[in-house]
């Protein structure tokens, strides 16, 4: 762990060092590519202005995650319980991911307005797919010998789900959730680009129009911090909940 953190830190340091040196060496103007030191200073010193926007985006992402969980978990269970239903629903699931989020963002803004609802739904649309698919695969991967054992003990489907399938699928669920939370900000930010009055996506569009590229990068930095924090949080929950794997 320490070793990997050291390598990550070294890699980031090298990339930022090369970037900073190139900008200084070639005199690249800030409105084309600002130096990392400039971006960090904007991200830190303009935090009072950035943080309220970040809070809005974070709220959209978190509600999006909750919403996607509320849809994905029961959906995966139902699809597992009724394979015929899985065959019927699968094409719609794939289609929901095949359509670019950019294409549906304007529609969601028209239908749900400029508030957070359209962004929450955008985030949820992106997140629910990896969670559903991973969880379903987790249920399916349950060892047949355990299934037979439960059958012989006379357990019904829902009891087996609670005591066997669900704990069995938890590692898959967390794998899907990790993918989901990593891309969750994409949905929210695209929604904010299309139509919003606040949020980091909105701020990026505003800053871009004024050629404040350092502010755009600062917003990206805050988005990265947000995504990384969610990923770390999910990893922490995974370690706490799946104790038997440790």
């Amino acid at each position: 762990m320490r070793r990997s953190a050291f390598f990550s830190g070294t890699l980031i340091f090298i990339i930022l060092g090369v970037w900073e040196s190139a900008c200084r060496g070639f005199n690249v103007p800030d409105f084309i590519l600002p130096m990392p030191s400039r971006i960090i200073s904007v991200a830190v010193f303009q935090a009072p202005m950035l943080l309220p926007h970040a809070a809005i985006t974070a709220m959209e992402v978190l509600i999006g995650i909750l919403l996607s969980l509320m849809v994905a978990v029961p959906l995966a269970m139902i699809m597992f319980a009724r394979p015929a239903l899985e065959n019927a629903i699968a094409p719609f699931l794939v289609a929901s991911q095949a359509v670019p989020v950019f294409a549906i963002a304007p529609l969601l803004v028209i239908w749900l307005g400029y508030g957070i609802a359209s962004k929450v739904l955008m985030a949820a649309v992106i997140i629910f797919f990896p969670i559903t698919v991973s969880l379903l695969e987790g249920f399916k991967s349950c060892d047949s010998e355990f299934r037979i054992l439960f059958k012989l003990m006379g357990a019904g489907f829902w009891k087996t789900m609670r005591l066997l399938y669900w704990p069995w699928a938890l590692p898959h669920f967390f794998a899907g959730l990790k993918v989901g939370v990593s891309v969750a900000t994409i949905g929210a930010v695209i929604g904010e680009w299309v139509g919003a009055q606040q949020g980091l996506g909105y701020l990026m569009i505003q800053a871009n129009a004024r050629l404040k590229v350092d502010l755009v990068f600062a917003a990206i930095l805050w988005l990265s911090v947000m995504g990384l924090s969610l990923w770390v949080l999910v990893g922490y929950l995974e370690r706490k909940i799946i104790r038997w794997k440790n």
Binding site: I148, K151, L152, M153, G154, A155, P167, R243, W244
Partner: protein, 245 residues
């Protein structure tokens, strides 16, 4: 008590067993021994209803039954303990699934933990204990079923010789103290001779009974008995011939 007559099972065109017959008296310990892949485990699957049968009759206490799911406890080769539950929760699984009174079942499980030498490990996860202890916990879970008939599918095959020896005594305890009727599959002829009242030597596919022995004398039997040595040699020769076929 258990009577199996003319039982048949096929996988497509492949006959696993045809017209297979078996009798297990109440309180008896019958061991099935045969070459790998001959259909022993499939027989248990058919008996418990985990697989369908193609013909034949199964009777329990004189009454014809479809399968033995509700009258037998089945312990498989793997311990099949759920890694996310403590040993106690694993032992209580039949009670939880059956909707039984958990505190009452807990008392029974606690007593079994004591008898099987697992006291003090109730809160451990299966991944934290040895293979022998895991198998003992699986045995506790099997006993929690409160079923008269116990089907054991190579329950000790994955264990080292010393652990195996100590668990053989526990299997005997199942028969003597808990008054269970036991039908066990094993590959180990010595294990069969130590434990069984009746040994059925099985052929390769399609599985049939090649020979059958009733064994006398106190258990666990010592294997230096000349008669047992003769039986062991004979059975090994029979199985070797089957392997050549």
């Amino acid at each position: 008590m258990l009577s199996v007559s003319n039982l048949s099972k096929r996988f497509g065109d492949l006959p696993i067993f045809e017209n297979f017959n078996l009798e297990l008296p109440a309180g008896g310990f019958t061991v099935l021994i045969g070459p790998s892949g001959c259909g022993k485990s499939t027989l248990f699957d058919v008996l418990t209803g985990a697989a369908t049968r193609d013909g034949g009759k199964v009777s329990w206490c004189g009454e014809a039954v479809e399968y033995l799911k509700d009258t037998s406890a089945y312990m498989q080769q793997k311990d099949l303990l759920l890694p996310w539950f403590s040993l106690m929760d694993n032992a209580l699984l039949p009670a939880k699934i059956g909707g039984e009174d958990i505190p009452e079942a807990g008392k029974k499980a606690q007593s079994l933990f004591r008898q099987l030498g697992l006291e003090g490990f109730e809160s451990y996860l299966p991944g934290q204990i040895s293979g022998g202890m895991r198998q003992r916990c699986a045995l506790v879970r099997t006993l929690m079923f409160e079923r008269q008939l116990v089907l054991l599918d190579e329950p000790l095959s994955a264990l080292d010789a010393i652990t195996r020896r100590s668990l053989q005594a526990l299997l005997l305890m199942l028969q003597v103290e808990f008054e269970k009727s036991i039908l066990m599959i094993t590959h180990d002829i010595e294990e069969a001779l130590r434990l069984a009242d009746e040994v059925l030597v099985l052929s390769g596919r399609p599985m049939r009974v090649l020979d059958q022995f009733s064994l006398q004398g106190p258990k666990l039997r010592r294997l230096d008995d000349p008669q047992l040595i003769r039986i062991k040699e004979y059975v090994l020769n029979l199985l070797q011939e089957e392997l050549v076929k």
